[in-house]
């Protein structure tokens, strides 16, 4: 218990003096995870929509695979992306290993299946409701997919937030492809891992409290936007 108290004190002290190191780490964490989620949504939402309204052979198998990929271990994703981006690997010439770009790539790979699988479910439920009317009006499957994406946008905000939560919380992928380089690729989760391995548990916990507060703040902001928009559109 006393360690928890020490951690709270640490967290407060860090935030209070606006530790520049901490600010840099927080900014990088947000930049990496938000960019990754943005890319994952750009790929995952259309993918989920097309699978939801589509009818093709192997659809059921694809859904099973997509759902299973939600459980991809971050450290495995990190390893695979590392092998791809390594100089000895196929994409080595891009030279982005151990930079924030590599971390964005790894997190985008991790989060895309989550957004695709969850949006697929949401959109399939909506399609069941809308299908006959949209087809009666003459909408192609493609147009219907776009219409559904916009119509279920409030539920999809929650899906995207789930993706963000996963990205912001993971350490396995960014540790391997980023290298936890001081001042360059150190984010909140890797900093916590570092302090833990150094044995400085109060500081690690303090950073943890800051991280959780950050994620709560992002979720709160999204909720405010959602509620006000829902009031307008019903």
């Amino acid at each position: 218990m006393s360690e928890l108290g020490a951690a709270l004190a640490q967290a407060w002290a860090l935030v209070n003096r606006l530790d520049s190191g901490l600010l840099g780490i927080v900014a990088l964490s947000l930049e990496v995870s938000l960019t990754a989620v943005f890319i994952a949504a750009a790929v995952g939402l259309p993918l989920g929509a097309l699978i939801a309204v589509g009818r093709f052979r192997g659809r059921d198998a694809l859904i099973v695979v997509l759902n299973a990929l939600m459980g991809l271990p971050p450290v495995v994703v990190g390893l695979v992306v590392y092998l791809l981006l390594s100089r000895a690997g196929p994409l080595g010439t891009l030279g982005i290993l151990f930079t924030p770009a590599a971390m964005v790539v790894a997190q985008a790979v991790l989060v895309t299946p989550i957004i695709a699988a969850l949006s697929r479910q949401t959109l399939e439920d909506a399609w069941r409701e809308y299908e006959k009317q949209l087809r009666s009006l003459g909408a192609s499957r493609f147009t219907a997919a776009l219409t559904l994406l916009w119509d279920t946008r409030f539920a999809l905000v929650t899906v995207v937030l789930a993706g963000f939560g996963r990205a912001a919380a993971e350490v396995g992928a960014v540790m391997i492809v980023g290298g936890n380089i001081d001042g360059v690729t150190r984010v909140m989760t890797t900093a916590i891992a570092l302090e833990t391995s150094k044995g400085d548990l109060p500081l690690a916990l303090g950073l943890g409290i800051v991280l959780v507060s950050l994620v709560i703040a992002v979720n709160a902001a999204a909720q405010v936007i959602k509620t006000s928009a829902q009031r307008r559109y019903g």
Binding site: Q133, S136, Y233
Partner: protein, 233 residues
Amino acid sequence: MLPLVLDRVSFAVQGRTIIDSVSCEIRAGERTVILGPNGAGKSVLMRLCHGLLAPTSGRVEWRGSGKNRRQAMVFQRPVMLRRSALENITYGLKLAGASRQERELRAHDVLEAVGLAHVAHHPARVLSGGEQQKLALARAWALGPEVLFLDEPTANLDPRATRDLESIVGHICASGTKIIMTTHSLGQARRLGDEILFVSGGRLVERAAVDLFFIKPASAEAAAFIRGELPWS
């Protein structure tokens, strides 16, 4: 597009026959009401005509040569998008290829005609059930279809809303659209129909002009239905 010809159309799902070899020809002009008890297959028959379902055997053919190739359908429960009433109508018009100006004009016109102009910019989903169904009707009407299918459109509405809706259907018919409607209400069939197609157990049992059907039904099933008895199968 009319006449619509059904040639021994059947529809079965997982071995169960829902529509059993229905043949008929539906011409322009009169208001066709498909009447029958619940579970007779009226909705499925409508969807087969509209093209939402494909028959498992037989053919659905539009043998007309007219220029208007448009159909529209209104369902028992209105399906509205999460946007304003006006935008729900312009959505359908956009799919039909109308220009932005045409869409706005037409949408405002139909909203006016059905008495919903005052809620044009309200979110469609917060409208009452009756208002949403009127909106669905307006959306279909805006497309200027040659044929309008209505699947039990007032089944969920109170008498006042039902009356309003029936009045609008009358206007639509007067503007030249062919009405094909299903109902299980004897009163509504009498009020709105010019001819009755009586469907029971997936079969087209009887077809007659409305007055003749109600005064002297030719089939025993129709007679029982009019008397309010349940079918015995």
